[in-house]
Symmetry: C2
Subunit: 423 residues, 2 copies
């Protein structure tokens, strides 16, 4: 019997307990031994729990840390502390650790993987990105002969659900958010999701692996989706595109570009049809070309699927050569202003002669060419102008927009959204 400890018994922890119970026969056939959950760490020891964990509950971390029988611990409590401290101590004691914790791995993976290397134990974190979708091990192993040049994906199910609702049901952002909260796929404080912070953490993990250089969430240029209006969704549709929150990591000649932003994607782009709470990640290697991984990026059982597989892998590979930190490069992160792409813009202006020529002038001065301009609905003497630029450095666009914002004929610059490919 493999003795396992679990930290945390929330949604994912409960899923892990249930999945091991359900599939222990399969697990035994696949790795030659059954898993026994010996102890589960919880905050409140008095809460009623499932009979599956009867007699296993503890509120003392030391009960797990100091149990010599426990060789593998799954950390599924989430949040930075005390998870970080616990993982550090478990690894230092020579225990294998598997975790679903994107906060800890994106900020401290580097330090923790050094400890796992020193102690020759496995530290696995497949569940930290994309829920149950196999992505980290495939990148570290199956694609390891490639120079990976790009990762691009939908890494947050909540925002993808909201954008899908806005697109398919013509809902406003706040209606769609409310629905997501009612259906349990958005938290009551949705900041981390809608502002893009959750996706930025996951992108930091993926980019660090893809480009073999340490990328932290703070280095990811991040925009959320809370500024996207149903008008943008509608105009995107007219352009043959959809709006998705896209995490993008790209290797340039001298640096790495990492961003999480809303993006207009042409309808035939493989990521455009990824809807609802599904996630998808495209990885582009110099040999393999583009490959895509798709599935449920969160949820109790999909996440448990990755956590339990990691427990099995930690056991299988206990005497083998482990995958530790692969950040052997030191690559610079590009300043977001240098990022070159085309942009979709929506502006509201007073409907007077000469406004458009003034705006066009500001673009011209900053070497920005426009591929599309159209005037939309006019209300109360103001008109809406939608424009799509050709490729331009973001900082040139920002300068032009600063000038334009200062014109008294301009009511507001409503939205600025990146465009992938030609729209």
């Amino acid at each position: 019997m493999i003795q396992v400890g679990i930290l945390g018994l929330g949604t994912v922890g409960t899923g892990v307990v249930e999945l091991i119970e359900k599939n222990n026969d399969i697990i035994e056939k696949r790795i030659g031994d059954r898993i026994n959950i010996k102890k589960v760490l919880v905050k409140n020891i008095n809460k009623r729990r499932s009979s599956l964990v009867e007699g296993k509950i503890t509120d003392k971390f030391e009960d797990i840390l100091e149990d010599e029988d426990i060789s593998v611990v799954a950390e599924v409590m989430g949040g930075e502390e005390p998870a970080l401290t616990y993982i550090r101590e478990l690894l230092s004691r020579g225990k294998h650790v598997v975790t679903a914790n994107k906060e800890v791995i994106s900020e401290h993976g580097n330090e923790l993987l050094k400890i796992s290397a020193e102690k020759d134990v496995n530290l696995l974190f497949e569940a930290s990105v994309g829920g149950g979708i196999p992505i980290i091990m495939p990148m570290k192993q199956c694609l390891s002969a490639n120079d990976i040049v790009k990762v691009m994906g939908i890494l947050n199910g909540t925002t993808n659900y909201i954008l899908s609702q806005m697109t398919e049901k013509s809902e406003s952002f706040s209606e769609a958010l409310e629905k997501a909260q009612l259906e349990g796929c958005a938290e009551s404080d949705p900041t981390n999701d809608v502002k893009g912070f959750d996706a930025a953490r996951k992108l930091a993990i993926l980019s660090s692996i893809a480009f073999n250089t340490r990328i932290t969430p703070e280095q990811v240029y991040t925009e959320g989706i809370d500024n996207i209006s149903h008008l943008d969704i509608e105009y995107a549709r007219e352009l043959g595109a959809v709006i998705k929150l896209i995490a993008l990591g790209k290797k340039n000649e001298n640096n790495i570009e990492v961003s999480v932003t809303p993006v207009l994607l042409k309808k035939d782009h493989p990521l455009a049809s990824v809807s609802g709470t599904f996630n998808a990640i495209m990885v582009e290697g110099d040999a393999v070309g583009p490959v895509m991984f798709y599935g449920l990026g969160a949820g109790k059982m999909p996440t448990a699927s990755a956590v339990v597989a990691d427990i099995m892998e930690a056991v299988r590979n206990k005497n083998g050569s482990k995958l530790h930190c692969t950040c052997y490069n030191r690559l610079n992160v590009m300043d977001s202003g240098e990022s070159v792409t085309s942009f979709y813009l929506r502006l509201r202006v007073f409907d007077r002669p000469g406004v458009l020529s003034k705006i066009a002038g500001a673009f011209g001065e900053n070497q920005i060419s426009l591929s599309k301009v159209f005037q939309k609905n006019t209300i109360n003497g103001t008109a809406e102008i939608v424009m799509v630029t050709y490729d331009v450095p973001f900082k040139n666009l920002q300068e032009a927009l600063d000038e334009i914002r200062a014109y008294k004929q301009v009511v507001e610059i409503s939205t600025v959204i990146r465009v992938e490919g030609e729209c």
Copy 2:
């Protein structure tokens, strides 16, 4: 330096040589050592070769087999023999083997994995299914906590290219095949691809892994695409569907269903938008739900990507616990007649009163309900009837069609195609 032998220097072999040359610095950083291709087995030693293999060419297998320095051998010659004999001998000598050979693995993987287990060496074959797409290792490791209930995919790029051309360019089967041959994505003898045999081999490999039971290509019910007319493509479009050659493995309560057949897929099915030479594989697990893997399923560099990654994995894992045969179950394969699905039918009949009622009668007698019937173009006194049935066991349909075929009012039963979901 890791000394590697290569069997075969065709397209894939050349890709492997070039990729190792190109990315050897990356490989060294990732596995701690460079790869040196020490010997390459070819048939014709007098042919002009790239300078990359100068002084390494041999036409004697023993030069590789008996070279004590060579620890890993990549078999990329293809075909059953002599590849099978070579792999058997290499494993028996304690060498790690990686192969892209679907013929050998689908028919003899079982035997070869037993030898690899006895000798405690790695036998890896990621490239045998889906080219560079990570699928075998993700299934064996990342999804190993799941009871896998279904695999479904587009496993043959040639037929997918042909069907895509027929769909997008309204070409006939033979026009599209000719184009595929001109562009090098179909062989001069296209039988293995268009008859579904290639996909059946890949499905046998995937199903054996997914369901942990040995499935051979002969057990896969296989239909090709050479019977599909542009009319079927057109009528599918009218039904909101596309036609794809789908490999399907499904676990039922008491058996396994394995088939490679053309299938009408609703346009919003994730596999429906996989076009050209791309492959995609959906795997459904009890915990993870559906996950999909997508990419180029063949070609020089995508396949080399998987072969070289397997070489790296064999090195990394030389002292670890290996993944050997996982077929610990003995599950029956369902007779294709028992398979229950709905069907699309196209018939040509003499345009006389009572024909439809006779046909409908035969369906009724065999407990077949129709969800859609429409009469299409009438030419020279014959009419085309298109029907979609509700779910029905294939054998009932076959009985009904045998009766219908015997009616003198029926000119021909032109096509019978399975339908996934509701059309």
